[in-house]
Assembly symmetry: C2
Homo-oligomer: 168 residues x 2
């Protein structure tokens, strides 16, 4: 059997035999890229079913898993979410309008604002996250469980080597 990445590498081997020896990272990164798109598209649909954007869902789950008081600074999302500041401001604006979160100024430093999950936000997150996990399980339903674990372990070592070790 072969997948889309095998096909791509096969094409390169024929057209550019001079680069064949340098294609081995494509075996890993090419598959990561394709899988990410498939999984993201699926996750996006799940979030949409609950009326939230993909990025908004990310904010919701980050807040919920942070535990009480379910409030984090805007800056912490910046570091954790791998997007720029403008995107965060935009997300919070829309989520605030939907009543999912609220901006609160507390503490000594009045530059910082905290984004706090509202009760409504909690409910949406619980429902959406349950669907999200069910969707994930569905995607992997026909994949050997042991293979999933071993592959995930391999990816973890790559992530560690690349320095992606903290959520911040």
């Amino acid at each position: 059997m072969s997948d889309a990445v095998d096909a791509i590498i096969g094409q390169w081997a024929k057209e550019r035999p001079d680069v064949v020896e340098d294609l081995w990272p494509v075996e890993l990164f090419g598959r990561i890229q394709r899988l990410a798109r498939v999984v993201d598209k699926s996750a996006k649909a799940t979030a949409a079913a609950h009326g939230v954007e993909h990025g908004e869902f990310d904010v919701l789950t980050t807040l919920q898993r942070s535990g009480p008081p379910y409030a984090l600074t805007a800056g912490s999302f910046l570091k954790a979410s791998m997007v720029t500041s403008g995107a965060i401001t935009n997300r919070i604006d829309k989520m605030e309008a939907k009543g999912l979160v609220e901006r609160v100024r507390e503490g000594d430093d009045r530059r910082t604002i905290k984004i706090r999950l509202t009760e409504h936000g909690h409910e949406v997150t619980r429902a959406a996250f349950a669907d999200h996990l069910a969707n994930y399980a569905r995607l992997l339903a026909d994949v050997d469980r042991d293979l999933v674990e071993k592959t995930a372990e391999g990816l973890r070592q790559v992530l560690e080597t690349l320095g992606d070790t903290t959520v911040k």
Copy 2:
């Protein structure tokens, strides 16, 4: 050692012990998502160094590896690139303006257009792709080669199961 995904799962385990048993797909998909962002960001910078967008680089390499006559229909990009038709039209517009590709109508079917790599497009692709592979190799420089292969093989099986088997 632990990575960002371990930290995320650890937070869930504490805040939502009821979902712990359903988190196993996150071990795989969470890492795929994070790695995809890191790798994409890096690849984007490499492409930018050659004056092309990430998506444009995708079109260039797809054309080059397709072999002579280095021309494909717009529709084939649609199926291969996982983006919508508007994005393809937009990409080709800009690439045509840069002299990287040209639209040609040939053959019996006058609905179809073929996107053909220009000589300049060929040169840019060769240079950018060489840099791209060097960048990929650099990212994996400190990762055990055998681990890369085994992990890639695991991902291939997941892709096959999800049905991503052709480039089209």
